[in-house]
């Protein structure tokens, strides 16, 4: 369990509107992922969690975004300096991704079999017929009762839950070491969400892969992850094992976030809420980025930005109160 599968060091991703002006979407992001671990990356919209995953996957090519600093080391290799060919080999092979919108991430004009076989043939030496067999087998594993029929279908013939199963099957088809799941259940209904989460847990156990689960839903995190990274306005503000994060959150943002989620069966009528809203990327406050919304903020918080430091041997926090 102690082997590091993925190391992200001091990652910075900027989006350029012209040659000179840019907004920094992700900054100073460093974390590690061990083999067989499910880590949650949590935050609200615009906090940089999806950009972090796209930076890891090298999927920013067609956007104005560029990684301008840092390292992404996967299985000992720095992906940021790797050649295009090496990246193509890794992506979809030992590292794959599932997206939020299952419907729009499948090609609507291709039957499921062609979409699945394409990936398998690219990363293995299987023939088309063998790849098709493998695709059918994986579809059974993800709980699709009639894989032969689904293989012949077009994406529009599948429901949301079914398409997400197909996406997971596709991501699993080359036995990846790392699965990045970007809000995999956000577009789904609760009963379907429960099915998909259960499925991801089962597959993770069977294959022993690592999952980086990106979500804004703290309930999903509590259920799935062993460790959690909380992001706010492009930076990591807290990192801790899941029990500690929910039991003893140290950053005021994490505390506020956990308190502001209604819990089933708690019986409260009014929730504590965080005042204000997330800052705009182009006009970040100087000092701590959470200071304008923080009830503990002092003059120091407004002027100087704190570092992410270890508060004990398991927990890291970016807050002046804890340094």
């Amino acid at each position: 369990m102690s082997e590091k599968l993925l190391k992200v060091k001091d990652l910075r991703t900027e989006f350029f509107s012209s040659k000179k002006s840019s907004v920094v979407a992700v900054d100073e992001v460093s974390f590690e992922l061990e083999k067989g671990e499910i880590v949650g990356l949590v935050g609200e919209s615009g906090c940089g969690k999806s950009v972090t995953s796209l930076s890891i996957m090298q999927l920013l090519k067609d956007t104005p975004g560029r990684v301008t600093k840092g390292e992404v080391i996967f299985e000992g290799k720095n992906l940021l300096t790797a050649s295009k060919k090496e990246i193509l080999n890794i992506r979809g092979g030992s590292m794959s991704m599932i997206f939020q919108e299952p419907m729009s991430s499948l090609n609507p004009s291709m039957r499921i079999d062609r979409q699945m076989i394409e990936g398998i043939c690219l990363h293995t030496s299987l023939s088309k017929a063998e790849a098709r067999e493998r695709a059918a087998k994986i579809l059974t594993q993800v709980g699709i009762p009639d894989p032969q029929r689904v293989l012949k279908n077009y994406p529009h013939q599948l429901s949301g839950g079914m398409s997400q199963r197909v996406m997971i099957a596709m991501a699993m088809s080359c036995n990846p070491q790392l699965l990045i799941a970007d809000e995999p259940t956000t577009a789904l209904d609760v009963t379907i969400q429960a099915q998909i989460l259960e499925l991801m847990k089962k597959i993770q156990k069977e294959q022993g892969m690592s999952i980086l689960l990106i979500t804004h839903d703290l309930g999903v995190v509590a259920e799935m992850c062993s460790r959690v990274i909380v992001m706010y306005a492009g930076k990591i503000v807290e990192e801790a094992p899941v029990e500690i994060l929910f039991g003893n959150p140290t950053h005021p943002y994490t505390q506020g976030l956990i308190a502001s989620v209604p819990k089933l069966g708690s019986g409260v009528k009014v929730l504590p809420s965080i005042p204000g809203s997330v800052p705009d990327l182009s006009s970040m406050p100087t000092g701590c980025r959470f200071a304008p919304r923080c009830k503990y903020a002092s003059e120091k918080c407004r002027q100087q930005e704190p570092e992410l430091v270890a508060v004990n041997d398991k927990q890291k926090c970016r807050c002046w109160l804890k340094q």
Binding site: E198, G219, E223, L257, V261
Partner: protein, 321 residues
């Protein structure tokens, strides 16, 4: 308590597809035989998954859609047969808050005009009087009068939803239909808007019909809850009864599927198999039969009748007779 709204056997279908002669050949059965009452001052929630007919029900109540059959009474008056012209004065007492705050505000109108528009239609106030109301309402929803001259794009999602709420409040409505008012908002903003809705209810003694898919949110805000599946109301109960003693197998599964933000919490989860069936060809028997673990032969053959199992707790299921 006084009944403010009452639905009796309301159904609504939408035509899909056309035959050669241009007649619709299939129908989506969006809302089927729905009956419930809403009392003055309470929050009545309708929960269910996508496609269960909860939003259509909201639109039927507001008469944005006319039902195919059944009756809707609002403040003692039957509104199902009213024309849109006859309905307009009624809407003064019945306002709506929508899911997508950005989509429900005209991007080319200033906030003050957006909020004042209902006053223009429903009252004879002059401009100064209208602006007084606007400024007061902006304060009530947590914005300030300096925001009045701005356009919607200058606001964040949570602020836009506050503007939507202010607009719904301008004409002192009795009933507010809130269709997923917080699901497009970020977690930390959701709590702000929920608290605002709660405070406004106390301040103006409002009645809410709250439409949502999120059971944790519904538990917080509701007095009574109706659970919908495939266009049918399968269970209606006061909040405490529904959460502590849910009876319908679908409600049980739905409650057990909600992820709890507490890693120490372990509960038995009911994983439903399969997907929600299509509403074009409704099942002959119980709408939930195909996914139900307790399904018996009679469930496939016969629609269950709604029964009052304990005071105020209604359920449509063959298990309870």
């Amino acid at each position: 308590m006084e009944k403010i709204l009452s639905l009796k056997n309301v159904s609504k279908t939408f035509p899909v597809g056309k035959t050669l002669l241009g007649k619709p050949d299939k129908f989506v059965h969006a809302v089927n035989n729905v009956s419930f009452d809403v009392y003055q001052g309470e929050t009545f929630s309708i929960v269910g998954e996508s496609g269960c007919g909860k939003s259509t029900t909201g639109r039927l109540i507001n008469h944005l859609l006319a039902p195919d059959s059944g009756e809707i009474h609002f403040m003692g008056k039957e509104i199902t047969k009213l024309t849109q012209d006859e309905m307009r004065p009624m809407r003064k007492d019945m306002q709506m808050i929508f899911q997508d705050p950005a989509g429900s505000l005209n991007p080319r109108m200033r906030v003050e005009d957006l909020i004042a528009e209902p006053l223009l239609i429903h009252t004879n106030m002059n401009k100064a009087e209208r602006m007084n109301v606007v400024n007061e309402l902006l304060g009530i929803v947590g914005l300030s009068s300096k925001h009045a001259k701005r356009y919607p794009h200058e606001f964040s999602g949570g602020q836009k939803q506050r503007i939507g709420i202010a607009r719904a409040l301008t004409v002192n409505p009795k009933l507010i239909i809130a269709d997923e008012p917080i699901s497009a908002l970020d977690v930390s903003i959701q709590a702000q808007v929920l608290n605002l809705l709660h405070n406004l209810q106390e301040k103006f003694s409002l009645t809410y019909v709250f439409i949502s898919h999120d059971l944790s949110v519904v538990e917080m805000i509701s007095d009574r809850i109706a659970v919908m599946y495939l266009g049918f109301v399968v269970e209606t109960a006061p909040k405490e009864l529904l959460y502590q003693n849910s009876l319908h197998p679908y409600t049980k599964a739905l409650l057990s599927a909600v992820p709890i933000p507490d890693p120490g919490h372990h509960k038995e989860r009911i994983i439903l198999e399969g997907d929600i069936p299509s509403t074009i060809d409704l099942p002959k028997g119980c709408p939930f039969a195909a996914r139900c673990r307790a399904c018996k032969p009679e469930c496939l053959e016969q629609r269950p009748v709604t029964r009052e199992v304990e005071p105020g707790h209604f359920v449509s299921c063959h298990l309870y007779k």
